[in-house]
């Protein structure tokens, strides 16, 4: 059978462009539930490569919360500053954008559990079988942050977590960490473990996602960022790499767009 049919190839190219665009917009690679009739096209004769067909990551937008309410946002900013306190050299979790990072992640595919297996039944298993929870990260944050503020208000004369003195905030979080402080309607210990992980993830991820503003975390530890070539340095042992970090959006000195 003759394989190379030009018209079929042309059809394939346009379909592929649509598919890639859809994949990018959806933020996931799951196309199988698409209702678009894509059909079965054949690739033959040449690689299905198109100029500018990539899908660069969308930059987290500045501006209001996309997921958190005002109260939730204040609480998570306070938690971010407890997990990563500011010091004289490096900003804390709040000013480095960790709460913005978590907000944008929860508003996106991660918060919704896109791409994960969420079919029932939901049964309790062993620890080695992994999470079997029906609720995704967004729901868990919503439940836990509400419960945290309620717990603080009842214990600290009506004050929400963000309004507490620094020492009291630390006491509350240590209570969650040890399991001594229980939240109503939420697993406080699991929530705080996840919050630590997410705050620190925002601190170290590329600034394009809203945290690690001005690459403060990378400067702090000496990580040079999204560089691509250390050929001149692989054989230079025990010397500090001298260049400052770069992010996927470059550096502030290069462009006014970079953060």
């Amino acid at each position: 059978m003759k394989l190379r049919e030009e018209s079929q190839m042309e059809a394939r190219k346009s379909v592929s462009a649509v598919v890639r665009r859809r994949e990018f917009l959806a933020g996931t690679a799951v196309l199988l539930f698409s209702t678009t009739k894509v059909g079965a096209a054949t690739i033959a004769g040449q690689l299905p490569w198109m100029p500018n067909a990539g899908s660069p990551p969308p930059r987290a937008k500045l501006g209001p919360w996309e997921f958190f309410t005002g109260d939730e946002g204040r609480a998570i900013e306070a938690i971010a500053d407890c997990v990563i306190p500011p010091d004289t050299e490096t900003p804390g979790g709040k000013d480095s954008g960790c709460a913005v990072f978590i907000d944008r992640q929860l508003a996106g595919p991660y918060g919704r559990q896109d791409g994960l297996y969420v079919r029932p039944p939901f049964m309790t298993g062993t620890r080695s079988q992994g999470s079997q929870s029906e609720a995704g990260p967004a729901q868990k944050y919503r439940d836990a942050l509400g419960a945290l503020d309620r717990a603080c208000k009842s214990k600290y004369s009506g004050k929400a977590f963000a309004e507490l003195l620094a020492a009291d905030q630390e006491t509350v979080l240590k209570g969650l960490e040890s399991g001594d402080l229980k939240l109503e309607g939420a697993d406080g210990k699991a929530f705080f473990e996840q919050a630590i992980k997410d705050v620190q993830m925002g601190f170290f991820a590329d600034p394009i996602y809203g945290g690690n503003r001005d690459m403060v975390a990378w400067k702090m530890i000496g990580y040079p960022g999204a560089r691509y070539n250390y050929l001149d340095w692989v054989n230079r042992h025990n010397e500090r790499f001298p260049l400052p970090p770069v992010s996927m959006t470059g550096r502030a000195e290069w462009t006014s767009q970079a953060r």
Partner: protein
């Protein structure tokens, strides 16, 4: 009702390493070949260009290049008396998806297995007696020898341009290489990669302790290379984004860099992406495959008839498709009969982290490649006398740190709080002076009667088919082996000058949430007896002779090395059998 396409000579299911190798070999034979791939076509300019590939969040944490569990997942339990539950997000291993398969986002470690690994049961029984092996261990010989596979190892190494130092050249032990490796007919095509500071320190410490360290063989190339198909690769730039990531630089061996640009120009080859094969069709005798049925992204079903069917999906999906297609007898652990799903194994992994004085040591740990590293092989396979230790198997250990992407690589010494000011300053002080090899202890995983694959009674995939069920736990033999190897490894890290050495032993129960490599094997194993193997020594189905099943699903048990070089070599071996034997006389290549 499936729409029927015109018949091909060969249909290939899954277009990763083995599918690409087989497609190239069989089109050379003049056959009309089509490859059908579940995921999208992938390439550097479109999927992982240098402008945004260095994204730890997107590719590592959020699994951009991998299969999504809502597309297909598995259920898991440790013991046969437990209820298996679905793997809702990936953990212990990461199933690939898309053209190139795992070859896109692997580390590119290029290990050969030991000669004794291929005759494991015979070898261990002869050396230690059959009573030395645990009663429920179901290891067996492969039905092929190292010497038979050597030319095919060589071929795959030269396709990929592999960078390394030979340790055994035609029987002569070579300085600087792995003295335990089987004899190789040629040196590596390119010299070993350069080694960063901590890797060099590991080599020095190991040598001082009396070991023979050598550079890990790497599919990330030390220099520019033109492969036998005329495809060009560039030198690795040590960017530290290999595992979980695609290489933007055409420096990492993958189907995209070593085969596809050549293959796609052949007039007798074509491919379909975003098309998932849901069944291998057989005729009424059940002994002859007639082709496959696949579903495209619109949900439409198609039938692709073919004379020869090559099943070359990821190991677990090979087994799953055999079960769904009702080819071969499913394994039953109670009666210890049947073959499909039998002898499932993983890899017994652990590591040791070393914290060094940051005023004296700066490792620049972000300078790395996926297969960089200095290793020792004294404790792999049967390279040492197991008599005194009461276990079998082993692994290599080494400083194989493949980068220091900061979300995953900001460790703190023991006693540091998990958050707060003390955590922050500990991270700042330790990032550049911590040794963190991801899989520093890379141990074997031998097969057991109660570790297997089957179909789940409860959970379904999006087509309504049962999910495949994994029953897997660590056995005492592997726990002992890991303890032994981890202790040996820690001694070397200590000798490098670490202030704190943290041993991360692998312990039971096997945990599906902890990443342990994507080296999941077995379930459709090769062998000499149809009662204990799904495939003969040529990877041909005993039950359906016009079906060949490639990949690590054919491993009867897993040695202490990374699998891909052997997976590729076996694909060349099977291709040679098809070209030289099967096509001349289609039918069973081995009498049962």
């Amino acid at each position: 009702m499936a729409r029927k396409l015109s018949k091909k000579d060969v249909v290939i299911i899954g277009f990763g390493w083995t599918g690409a190798i087989m497609a190239n070999e069989l089109t050379d034979e003049g056959l009309d070949v089509i490859a059908i791939e579940r995921g999208p076509w992938r390439d550097a300019p479109t999927d992982f260009p240098p402008g945004y590939m260095q994204d730890e969040l997107r590719y590592r944490v959020r699994h951009e290049l991998f299969l999504r569990p809502d597309q297909i997942t598995f259920t898991f339990r440790n013991k046969t008396d437990q209820t298996a539950l679905p793997i809702r997000s990936w953990g212990a291993f990461m199933p690939p998806n898309g053209v190139g398969g795992g070859g896109v986002h692997w580390n590119a470690e290029m290990w050969r297995f030991l000669p004794s690994d291929f005759v494991l049961k015979t070898h261990l029984t002869e050396r230690y007696g059959k009573d030395f092996l645990p009663e429920d261990m179901t290891i067996q010989d492969w039905g092929i020898t190292y010497d038979e596979l050597e030319p095919h190892y060589d071929r795959f190494e030269y396709l990929c341009g592999t960078s390394g130092t030979a340790g055994n050249l035609n029987g002569k032990i070579m300085e600087g290489g792995n003295p335990f490796e089987g004899p190789r007919s040629r040196p590596y095509p390119t010299p070993a990669q350069a080694q960063p500071f901590s890797h060099t320190l590991f080599g020095k410490a190991a040598r001082e302790l009396g070991y023979k360290p050598f550079p890990q063989p790497s599919g990330n190339l030390s220099q520019a290379y033109t492969n036998p198909l005329g495809l060009q690769m560039g030198p690795c730039t040590y960017c530290g984004f290999c595992e979980w990531f695609g290489c933007s630089n055409y420096s990492k061996a993958s189907p995209q860099t070593t085969i596809l640009p050549y293959l796609i120009r052949k007039p007798n080859f074509s491919a379909r992406d975003n098309s998932e094969v849901v069944k291998i069709n057989v005729d009424s005798s059940g002994k002859h495959a007639t082709g496959v049925t696949f579903v495209d992204t619109s949900g439409e079903e198609w039938e692709q008839p073919a004379d020869l069917v090559i099943l070359s999906a990821f190991s677990l999906f090979n087994v799953q498709l055999l079960l769904h297609s009702k080819i071969g007898t499913p394994y039953d652990p109670a009666s210890n009969t049947g073959v499909i799903g039998r002898n499932y194994t993983h890899q017994t992994i652990s590591t040791v982290n070393g914290f060094f004085d940051h005023k004296k040591f700066n490792f620049n740990p972000f300078i790395a490649s996926g297969a960089i590293g200095m290793c020792i092989d004294e404790f792999n396979g049967d390279n040492f006398d197991h008599g005194p230790y009461g276990f079998v198997g082993g692994g290599y250990v080494g400083q194989v740190q493949t980068g220091a992407r900061p979300i995953e690589s900001t460790l703190t010494p023991p006693g540091t709080p998990k958050w707060g000011a003390a955590w922050k300053s500990a991270v700042r002080d330790n990032y550049l002076s911590t040794v963190k090899p991801g899989t520093g202890v890379h141990g074997s995983s031998y097969a057991y009667r109660d570790v297997y694959l089957g179909l789940d009674p409860t959970y379904k995939d999006r087509f309504g088919r049962p999910l495949m069920q994994i029953t897997m736990d660590l056995h005492d033999n592997e726990v002992k082996q890991n303890h032994f190897l981890t202790d040996k490894f820690a001694e070397i890290i200590k000798a490098m000058g670490a202030d704190h050495v943290i041993k991360q032993y692998r312990t039971a129960p096997y945990d599906i949430t902890q990443y342990q490599t994507t080296h999941v094997n077995g379930g459709a194993v090769m062998g000499t007896d149809p009662l204990t193997s799904a495939l003969n020594r040529y990877l041909q189905s005993w039950d359906v002779p016009n079906l060949f099943v490639l990949g690590a699903s054919a491993f009867p048990q897993n040695p202490g090395y990374n699998p891909t070089l052997t997976v590729g070599a076996l694909a060349y071996w099977a291709a040679a059998a098809i070209r030289d034997k099967y096509l001349k006389n289609p039918g069973r290549l081995v009498d049962a």
